[in-house]
């Protein structure tokens, strides 16, 4: 009899539909794999281009070398001045930026009224959106002349540290604020119910509970400061020597690359040495990404 087959085994429409779905799924997977591919390509590219210099100079020699004279008759490719420069400006940025950012986060999450609290996030959003080069320009026009009053050219560790401190504020604020907000209300109530003041509750209960998120915000801020180029280039003085004080001019790894990559001859030792600087930067950033993941994973457990 004319039986109604519900599920035709070889229904053309159904199988065509299924095939389309499979093709779509495959295409989507390729899109998702793109970021993996790019990370792999970047890794390979950086180390491949850096390899000639590392092989010729020796990795340890480069990292501990205190002299960067790529165009001298007897060129030197010591990266230590730039590593020290990156370290100095980042440390200073953290010293200034973390307390300010953390306080702002605490204010936004714990003290601000319902009307004011969203402003904190909005401020962080705008600060995060302002382009590096605008920070650099602002630093050049305002911070550098101010630092110059202390002596010297004004361009150097202090100016770069202050500019970077401004730039890491949004990272510290938004990540820490989210971590503080995520602390369950019961913790606060339990503490307040025992007669603790609001500040004691924040300091002894809330902040420890949000510790891993706060740490993550600091590590992310380190990444941002170490990786920054355009803002630093405008205010740091850019001399490749190990800085001796807050007012000394300095050059970071990023600046070193940005300044010299434009005129270097591709394939030369100098070119490769710039990639070695990039490789050091890259390794450092990977370390930071890894720590962030470990901190946040440990925190969520």
């Amino acid at each position: 009899m004319a039986s109604l087959t519900l599920f035709p085994k070889a229904g053309n429409k159904a199988s065509a539909e299924k095939r389309t779905e499979r093709i779509i799924k495959g295409g989507l997977m390729l899109c998702a794999l793109l970021s993996v591919l790019v990370v792999l390509l970047i890794t390979v590219m950086v180390f491949k281009e850096a390899w000639p210099a590392i092989k010729q100079q020796g990795l340890l020699n480069m990292i501990t070398g205190t002299s960067w004279k790529p165009t001298a008759a007897k060129p030197r490719f010591g990266l230590l001045p730039m590593i020290a420069g990156s370290f100095a400006v980042t440390a200073l940025a953290l010293l200034i930026g973390v307390p300010v950012g953390l306080a702002t986060a605490i204010y936004g999450a714990e003290l601000a009224t319902v009307r004011v609290a969203p402003l904190v996030g909005r401020m962080a959003g705008i600060l995060a959106g302002i382009p590096s080069v605008v920070y650099g320009f602002f630093g050049l026009m305002v911070i550098v002349p101010a630092v110059r009053l202390l002596g010297g050219t004004g361009m150097g560790v202090l100016s770069a540290g202050v500019v970077l401190a401004m730039m890491i504020l949004p990272t510290v604020i938004s990540v820490s604020e989210a971590a503080i907000r995520a602390v369950p209300g019961e913790y606060r109530e339990a503490s307040l119910a025992m007669g603790a003041t609001k500040w004691q509750t924040i300091w002894h209960v809330v902040i420890p509970a949000a510790k891993s998120g706060i740490m993550a915000s600091v590590v992310l801020a380190i990444g941002r400061a170490v990786g920054e180029t355009m803002a630093v280039i405008l205010v740091a003085g850019n001399i490749p020597v190990i800085p001796k004080g807050l007012l000394s001019a300095t050059r970071t790894l990023t600046v070193n690359i940005a300044l010299e990559m434009g005129y270097v001859r591709p394939g030369s030792l100098h070119y490769s040495a710039l990639f070695a600087a990039a490789a050091v930067l890259f390794a450092f950033i990977m370390l930071i990404n890894l720590s962030v993941r470990m901190i946040t994973r440990g925190g969520s457990r």
Binding site: E21, R122, Q200, A258, M261, N289
Partner: protein, 287 residues
């Protein structure tokens, strides 16, 4: 007796701590206001027709419009590439596969990209797109490099937006016999739209402000790029050159002002869209 002394101390501690916190928070606000105010104040005198169109007969001062056009071109082309790729990648991660090794590998790669310094992207574009693919310093190279930079932003915000789409929409559609893709296309993506747009705004901000990654990929020619293989200079790059080479402080202020205005506009729009994404459980889908 002791208790009351202690209580007094605790109150004083609290007042002191809160005063410090408020002062530091105010610092943040002042930094923001100072940057915006200072740039705006100094830009006002420079905001004139000459700033836009340049000085007639002065080949060194072409005015800002070529950079503005280049920036716009770069933004549009970059979004045309990165937006579909990022959205589709996020769709795959959220709608097609379950959490597992694959998803966590992709996610950690994406996080790595998000944390990568601009200058590294610049080098990658220089070597990979410029040298290996032969694109040199060009709009094409700049576009591809910038696309990689904003890919993580788009993926992350799309994933967030997809997460906020009620599961009942998916179930309702699938229960009607719609395929997975039909469900994604006709219901899920459309109701995630405002959230995705809010991510798009962030991405626009990032491209407009990008400099380090474009130095060695897009280049710095001060003419309008008329083909994909033309080099070009964006507004942010223009500001860098004006500031670094001390060419024109006035022009630098005015350019910085334009950039700040773009950032503010992008932020306000993003926030409006994000609010809309949260409000009323989704948006009416037009026909």
């Amino acid at each position: 007796m002791m208790k009351s002394v202690k209580k007094h101390d605790r109150k004083r501690d609290e007042r002191f701590a809160f005063a410090v916190i408020k002062a530091l928070s105010l610092t943040t606000a002042l930094v923001l206001l100072l940057i915006i105010g200072y740039i705006t104040w100094n830009a006002i005198p420079a905001l004139n027709w000459q700033f836009v169109a340049g000085t007639p007969g002065d080949p060194l001062n072409t005015g800002i419009w070529p950079m503005a056009v280049n920036t716009l071109l770069l933004v549009v082309l970059t979004l045309a590439i990165a937006l579909p790729l990022g959205i589709l990648a996020a769709v795959y991660l959220k709608e097609y596969v379950r959490e597992g090794p694959f998803v966590s590998v992709v996610r950690s790669a994406t996080e790595n990209l998000a944390g990568m310094p601009s200058i590294i992207f610049g080098l990658f574009g220089l070597v990979f797109f410029g040298k290996m693919l032969g694109l040199g310093w060009s709009l094409a190279n700049g576009t591809l490099t910038a696309s990689i930079i904003i890919l993580p932003t788009i993926m992350r915000t799309t994933e967030e937006a997809l997460k906020s789409v009620p599961q009942s929409y998916r179930e309702g559609s699938l229960a009607l016999g719609a395929t997975r893709w039909q469900t994604v296309k006709k219901v899920v993506l459309v109701s995630a739209f405002p959230g995705i747009m809010s991510g798009l705004m962030l991405a626009i901000g990032r491209v407009v402000g990008e400099t380090a990654a474009l130095m060695f990929t897009l280049g710095s020619s001060d003419r309008v790029a008329t083909s994909l293989m033309d080099s070009g200079r964006t507004l942010a790059m223009h500001l860098y050159m004006l500031a670094h080479e001390g060419l024109s402080v006035e022009g630098a202020f005015a350019t910085a002002f334009v950039l700040v205005v773009v950032v503010l506009a992008v932020n306000v729009t993003a926030e409006m869209l994000a609010n809309r994404a949260l409000g009323r459980g989704g948006r009416q889908i037009g026909r």
